[in-house]
């Protein structure tokens, strides 16, 4: 069987998922293919030599946009007696280019038939797992020197165009090359596959600005422009490099961005604009790649809601949740053009705008986005207060295809009472109120400094103070001394202990007198596993160490919790979280998964990965970056960057060089001083063990 290992290469929102031979044989359980614009442009792509399948020797993942498959003829036995090597080099661009190389190891000439079978089902990305019959017409067209596979439904038309650099016989199902190689000779051919969007009158329509072909120089420049990390703990430098490269892969340039990119949510299935994910990742990456934040703000601002549209859960001022380009979006079978059903991206948009200005000093963008920022702030009070209690709540208006849970913990059972029952809607989750508070405070700063509206600033501050006062009264679970995860539709507390309280610290909404109790819970044995803070505390009815939002540890979540702990002065606690998450990263070769099991560290000794389809995930990729920021205590104050390091003991020293910002470039240094508890200290370096 063609091994379970899947190989992905991508560029922008074009990606190829194949088996380890480079073949695509799509099925509902193996959703492989060439995808672009949320459409599968190839569902069959297989290489046969003289009718025989090939065996994979190795796969060389060169870059995120490039891979090489080394293959030999399959003898059907465990032995390899290869007289022939086949190399498939694949580079993704606006489709992909496959460079086929055959090496003849015989001492005589050989003649071979090389066959590539190709086919396209044009499945929508939302349908790849449940083989839907197509509503339009599939067609293939053999032209003199190319094969065109197409799909049309009314004016919706997508075509896959395939051609080769070497002479080939083309039929409806693929290309055949008649190859003759001399003794020890070789043969090469380039096969092009282009994914195209066809507009009116057969004209091609460009949905993404051309940002050139992917190349190594571009990737090098991307890594060079980020600060350099020097550290005596190798796993951290490995994780840091991995994060920068993955962040490069996750860049996505929407059609309106003029070639500038922002972070998409996850690879490969979520290579699109997501409000929440793009904002969180931009926040994490601000000290490292600040232009991601600028692009995110511009793009989300350009698509901010302006009307009431129940199908899209759109309101004036609301920041989008998800944008999609496939058939189901085009025909409004799905609401993603764009879909607005989230309750957090709108306040977070303002938070990001302010944080972006504090780092970059880009006052122009703050002025350009004044209207959008004010509209976002107005949304909080005018459209998000569904219960009339003065809080952000959510309840979808699109009952059919809208999202039920519009906070980051978006699974069905993520918000529960202690006894395990689930509240009704609207739901008023606690972290949303923190984001709203922070947005108002930050909005006030922007209004005073850049919008020349001190009166508006005063009103925002007053409103924030009032929100904080009410929040600390209404959400405080006094018998547990923590904040309830939510209020239900009747305003009653949904009283479980969750990681959400960490986000409250980040937002600054927690009364000083309550902060120590909150930090105590975050670091206590019910929430802290030794690797990180669990989404739901052990002991709650729905707790499950491998429940998606009911017990797993999310690196992204933890990076913001660490930031929150620092905001309230809990340096050591923040360092402990950084140590746990960075330790876990080492087990994943520097690439943190979306989530891992919430087992006690003492029990498993290694972090158990939660199986998810997407890796890398943008906000997991950003987590080590934010943890570096919190460990070094980087904080922009006026035109200066202040440094106040608190590193875990296992790290001797860290130097982050040339941190970009309004100060030009600044270096930050830190030494490990925070004493770790034995059970959650950084894994000691092998060299230290030897010594």
């Amino acid at each position: 069987m063609g091994g379970s290992r899947q190989i992905s290469v991508l560029y922008g929102n074009t990606f190829v998922v194949s088996d380890e031979h480079g073949d695509i044989d799509a099925s509902p359980i193996a959703p492989t293919g060439l995808f672009a614009w949320d459409t599968r442009y190839l569902s069959t792509w297989s290489l046969r030599i003289d009718g025989e399948t090939l065996r994979a020797l190795s796969v060389d993942d060169l870059q995120y946009f490039q891979t090489k498959f080394f293959l030999v003829p399959d003898t059907g036995t465990v032995y390899t007696n290869a007289k022939l090597t086949v190399i498939r080099g694949r580079t993704v661009a606006d489709g992909f280019i496959e460079e086929l190389t055959l090496l003849n190891h015989e001492d005589h000439a050989v003649e071979l038939t090389v066959r590539i079978s190709a086919g396209a089902d044009f499945a929508d990305i939302f349908d790849v797992k449940n083989a839907q019959p197509k509503k339009g017409r599939l067609y293939t067209r053999v032209e003199p020197d190319r094969l065109v596979c197409g799909y049309e439904r009314e004016n919706f038309c997508r075509e896959t165009v395939i051609w080769a650099s070497a002479p080939a016989a083309i039929d409806e199902n693929g290309l055949t090359f008649s190859v003759r190689m001399p003794a020890h000779g070789d043969w090469t051919a380039r096969v092009h596959v282009k994914a195209s969007v066809v507009g009116t009158g057969g004209k091609e329509m460009v949905l993404e600005r051309d940002r050139g072909r992917p190349d190594l120089a571009g990737l090098d420049a991307w890594i060079r422009q980020a600060p350099a990390l020097e550290c005596d703990w190798t796993p951290l430098t490995v994780t840091y490099q991995r994060s920068l490269v993955d962040l490069a892969a996750l860049r996505f340039a929407p059609l309106t961005s003029g070639g500038r990119s922002l972070p998409a949510a996850g690879l490969p299935w979520f290579m699109t604009l997501f409000g929440r994910d793009s904002i969180f990742t931009s926040l994490q990456a601000l000290p490292f790649e600040p232009e991601l934040a600028g692009t995110t703000l511009r793009e989300l601002g350009a698509r901010q809601g302006t009307r009431i549209d129940d199908f899209r859960d759109e309101d004036p001022g609301r920041i989008l949740h998800e944008m999609r380009y496939g058939e189901s979006a085009a025909f409004e079978e799905q609401p993603h053009t764009p879909y607005y059903g989230n309750a957090d991206a709108t306040p977070l948009f303002v938070v990001l705008l302010d944080e972006y200005e504090m780092w970059t000093g880009d006052a122009d963008l703050v002025r350009q986005l004044e209207y959008q920022a004010r509209a976002a702030l107005a949304w909080i009070d005018d459209y998000a207060d569904l219960t009339g209690a003065g809080y952000i709540s959510y309840q979808r208006r699109n009952e059919l295809t809208g999202l039920e849970n519009q906070c980051w913990k978006d699974s069905w059972d993520s918000i529960s009472y202690r006894d395990g029952t689930l509240p009704g809607f609207p739901r008023t989750t606690c972290e949303l109120q923190g984001y709203a508070y922070d947005a108002k405070r930050r909005g006030a700063r922007l209004a005073r400094l850049f919008w020349n509206d001190p009166e508006y600033a005063d009103r925002l501050e007053k409103s924030a103070a009032d929100l904080k006062r009410r929040f600390n009264r209404d959400f405080w679970v006094s018998d547990g001394r923590y904040f309830a995860v939510a209020l239900d539709e009747d305003g009653r507390q949904v009283d479980t202990l969750t990681s959400n309280i960490g986000h409250l610290l980040w937002s600054g909404i927690v009364d000083k007198t309550k902060a120590r109790a909150v930090a105590g819970h975050l670091m206590g044995s019910r929430l802290f596993s030794g690797w990180g803070v669990r989404t739901l505390a052990a002991g709650e009815q729905r707790f499950n160490p491998i429940g998606y939002h009911t017990g797993t540890v999310w690196p992204f979540d933890n990076s913001f919790i660490a930031w929150g702990l620092r905001r309230y002065g809990f340096k050591q606690e923040a360092a402990r979280i950084a140590a746990g998450i960075l330790d876990a990263a080492e087990f994943f070769d520097g690439r943190l998964p979306e989530a891992f099991g919430g087992y006690d560290r003492a029990l498993t000794r290694y972090p158990v990965q939660y199986p998810t389809a997407c890796t890398p995930q943008a906000w997991s990729t950003g987590a080590p970056l934010l943890l570096l920021r919190t460990m070094l205590g980087l904080e922009p104050i006026g035109d200066y960057l202040t440094v106040d390091p608190a590193l875990p003991m296992g790290i001797g020293h860290v130097a982050l060089l040339e941190i970009p910002g309004r100060w030009g470039q600044v270096d930050a240094f830190g030494r490990g001083r925070v004493e770790m508890r034995l059970e959650d200290r950084l894994r000691r370096r092998p060299t230290a063990d030897v010594l």
Binding site: R153, E154, N155, F156, C157, V198, G199, T200, K203, M205, V206, L207, R209, L255, T256, G258, G301, A302, R303, Q304, T306, R307, I308, D309, D310, F311, R312, E314, P316, G317, Y325, G326, A329, A330, F331, E332, T337, Q368, E370, Y371, Q372, R374, A375, L377, A378, D381, D382, Y383, D385, L386, G388, Q395, R396, R397, F425, P426, Y456, R459, L460, S463
Partner: protein, 155 residues
């Protein structure tokens, strides 16, 4: 669409387009003829003229499709994706411009819509963003923000 663009041009300044600059031409097919409307935006200042001038982006579609977009019946983004609108050149301005199109006007008021609140007056910041658009296009009863805008417009 004709009326909509004329109305847009008459407004002179559209705050929803404050971050946008550029030109976009609509080639409107109507009964075998093609009409051209040129929209020029300079940081929110809008002028609309006729004529087949060069533009940063050219949008081509049947009058019927454009008319339905202008009334909020058809979503412009979805229309582009399904090929009902063809766009060439820089699509940025269309994305910006569609912010000024109305939403589906016949949507019934859903049960989950926020109850009208008495405290609307002291709510901060509602006036600026919620202003011009919602006043013209939305049934005023739905939102405190819309009500307020109507009051402002009337004043």
């Amino acid at each position: 669409m004709e009326e909509f663009l004329t109305e847009l041009g008459r407004r002179g300044h559209e705050p929803l387009l404050a971050a946008a600059s550029g030109t976009i031409r609509f080639d409107v097919h109507r009964g075998g003829r093609t009409e051209h409307r040129l929209v020029k935006v300079d940081r929110g200042d809008v002028t609309v003229t006729t004529g087949k001038n060069k533009a940063d982006a050219v949008v081509e579609a049947d009058a019927e499709v454009l008319d339905r977009i202008a009334t909020g019946e058809v979503n412009a983004t979805a229309a582009v994706l399904r090929g009902a609108l063809h766009i060439e050149g820089n699509p940025e301005l269309l994305v910006q411009l569609q912010r000024t199109f109305p939403g589906p006007s016949n949507a019934p008021a859903p049960a989950t819509r926020p109850p009208a609140k008495k405290a609307a007056a002291k709510r901060p910041a509602a006036e600026k963003p919620a202003a011009s658009r919602s006043a013209a296009k939305k049934p005023a009863a739905k939102k405190p923000a819309a009500k307020k805008a109507v009051r402002k417009a009337a004043a």
